[in-house]
Symmetry: C2
Subunit: 472 residues, 2 copies
């Protein structure tokens, strides 16, 4: 009998006309044109940079500009049981903003307000700004926002916060969460909360700001971010080293990180070197097995000592060529080369992009193991890495028109995550779990942690409407 | 009828003999002597450094050495509905480890294992070690654990994590949460979870490690901590400045922080200067209205430039005396003076100790406002501060035998928190809310954030057994 009652109370799935009427109601409650149902436009929001082939199609796209409008959308979704996929600039590499059939895609691309407060050395930003725009605005006031994903010119600061994004400078300057002082978040019932603020230290209550950084849109929608800024970085000296083997290069990394914290320590393998050289023609050594790009931004004799130490580590571990420059512009060329690695390798085929990280001493084992996985599956895997913090980006290249190659790449994709877990590492150092890696998360963290994750999700989003299919 | 059923099902409160039998059962399941019920020993665990006069008396004290023993205690507590107060070294300044009548006090003082892994530059520690012991063990391997509460020689690393403790170096090097990579936590049902690990970057799943740092023992019991270590700090140069007024000193602080990140920037007012000088006789200027102690650990010309900038800021803002030294030992004497401020002022009477923080530009307004509150309530308030990050410690001095003075101090204590909230700041920058400040937390964060806090607490600790009366 109880079952019958439950069945009677459960609302029937809305019919197509009912759904259209509901969306029209949402559109009417927001400024003209803010709710989009044009199929051509929706098609452009189905996938993100992860190119998930299983992407759905949204019921509608909403591009709000204010927190209040986000609240309107969330309240409407809660009332109608419609899921919401938050989307920044659509540069997720883990399918974090892949569209879901019947859901609202809430794009923050038009939330672009920004104020820099140089007195408190903070920025208050809306989530839709690009990382590079935040950096530029800070720089205009003589300040610096450090986190620098390789995609910094095209990724949104909201997406950075949602995934706790990293970048090249993290080896010395930490990741996004280290710079988030405050948030405004729209919760599942439509309430907007202010968490934290401009004070640099705050132990008042549970650490709720930190709980949302890296939650990938599953607990609430971030509509405003207060970021800590630093005084400008001192000019960096750059050292580039070519190595015959990736193994030698990874040993050189360990020799450096055991002694100093470089401002950058990046790794590219032979495939990446050649792909970049194809694009940039800057004279990289095409015969090298691996390239390391290191920087020191320490000043004076301390900086000179760091550069000497890096050069010595390169040489001791068999570098065939070592080049150092204190010219920031020349150094930046090598950093640009490293940032260009992903788009350059992408010219060779479709990519499955990994983001596995390991405790530093396991880096050589990870790189060796990836080479083995590449061989056994007959799949080209190019490895680039934020080597100084053990975070690697194996790029699996496949011909999208060849189904067996795609399948082999998928298999290798999973094996690389299995390897990282076996080495005590993580399936994602900075991109987030998204939809593409969630199958591996339980293997990394275990059933009990997954249950705690689900408990928190249920408590904060009882209807399960925020970014369904991500993490859980 | 429903009500009658509920009443029938509710267990009667255990009688005293039943309670004794249950405790005996717990004692039998743990090593000999680990469960203590001796009233004389329990009396020593009633209060912490906050000296809460409303402290209760525990049912028993348990001093486990392993995670498994903590699990045994938590499971027993869950089965019997007995609350647990986790306690580190008992140095809480907010009543975070005040004993609760009928609860178990779980002291981590015997959980003292430690391993330093210099290859990953991490420390894996049990919570009962003193902060100073972690620092010393890291230093033996040529590494550095930065967070440095003034009480670092007597406070536990577990308590530091529970409160997200700060210290003097935070102005440049951040707070405890910035150094916590992994945790083992015993949850309310007795399960022990491993969260995070030795990898420097990890975006896999919800940021659960961060959620526990600063949760003040209300969500779980931390039994192991993986800490990030840094290469050793470069030797610091120290600049000390005497000022006629606290206002001039706080203006000098702003002039410095607008331009550089000093490695330390500490403030003491006239009461603190004189109290310290009474103890240390080191020749501090007793006539000064305020003293600033600043450090730069930048190397070479950059360091020299920072020191020059600090000296200039001191002089421009009316410093009557400026003294700089590059001798680390001499510099450390001034830091010791600053650390001695609380125990020195404490010689003048009982203390109510504040921990209010504000966005930096509000620092002069906070300091002026505290002086006004001191006057109107006729209570001596000495202000010391981690001035560089806007975190102040007003010390309210009262005669414990004079009830009206105690009442006036209590009134001023609340007014200072009200002032910090009005200035957009926090009631606690680094000590935690504990039991003493929870009355003010809703005023700072608002009803909606309190509700979210309660939702998370209920989800993770449905019986409400972990550190009841703290935060909520």
């Amino acid at each position: 009998m109880t079952e019958t009652v439950t069945a009677d109370l459960r609302p029937a799935a809305p019919t197509a006309p009912e759904r259209r009427a509901a969306v029209a109601e949402l559109a009417a409650s927001l400024p003209e044109g803010m709710v989009v149902t044009d199929p051509d436009i929706l098609a452009g929001y189905r996938q993100d940079r992860a190119q998930d082939p299983d992407a759905g199609t949204s019921l509608a796209l909403v591009r709000p500009t204010t927190t209040e409008q986000v609240q309107t959308v969330v309240r409407w979704c809660a009332a109608h049981g419609v899921p919401i996929v938050p989307r920044g600039a659509g540069t997720s590499l883990s399918g974090g903003s892949t569209a879901v059939d019947g859901a609202i895609t809430l794009s923050t691309e038009k939330m672009r307000a920004l104020t820099i407060d140089s007195a408190t050395r903070t920025a208050v930003v809306q989530p839709g700004l690009f990382n590079a725009e935040v950096k530029a605005a800070a720089a205009e006031q003589g300040l610096w926002y450090p986190p620098d994903p390789s995609s910094f010119q095209i990724c949104s600061i909201g997406g950075n916060v949602a995934t706790n994004a990293g970048g090249l400078c993290c080896v010395k300057y930490g990741v996004t969460t280290d710079y988030v002082l405050g948030l405004q978040v729209v919760m599942a019932d439509g309430r907007a909360l202010r968490l934290g603020g401009k004070q640099l230290k705050d132990s008042a209550g549970l650490p709720l700001v930190k709980m949302f950084v890296g939650s990938e849109g599953t607990l609430g929608i971030i509509t405003e971010i207060t970021l800590r800024l630093l005084p400008p970085q001192a000019p960096a000296c750059t050292v580039v080293g070519s190595f015959a083997s990736v193994h030698q290069a990874s040993e050189a990394v360990l020799a450096i990180t055991a002694q100093i914290r470089p401002a950058m320590l990046e790794f590219m393998d032979s495939v990446a070197i050649n792909a970049v050289e194809d694009q940039l023609r800057m004279g990289l050594d095409r015969s090298a097995g691996a390239l390391l790009v290191a920087q020191s931004d320490a000043a004076g004799p301390a900086g000179a000592a760091e550069i000497a130490l890096i050069e010595a580590a390169f040489t001791e571990h068999g570098a065939t060529e070592v080049y150092a420059t204190s010219d920031p512009e020349e150094g930046e060329q090598f950093v640009v080369a490293r940032r260009m690695a992903i788009p350059s390798v992408e010219k060779k085929g479709s990519l499955l992009l990994e983001d596995v990280g390991v405790p530093l001493p396991q880096l050589p084992a990870l790189i060796d193991g990836i080479a083995e996985i590449s061989r056994t599956n007959d799949v080209v895997v190019s490895v680039i890495a934020h080597a100084g913090d053990g975070n690697t980006h194996p790029l699996l290249v496949f011909d999208p028109t060849d189904p067996t190659e795609h399948d082999r790449a998928q298999l290798a994709f999973g094996q690389i995550m299995d390897l990282a877990i076996a080495l005590g590492g993580t399936i994602t150092g900075e991109h987030g779990v998204g939809r593409l890696k969630k199958g591996w998360l339980p293997d990394q963290v275990g059933a009990d942690v997954m249950e705690l994750t689900a408990t928190i999700k249920r408590a904060l989003d009882p209807q399960g409407l925020f970014n369904p299919g991500v993490i859980l």
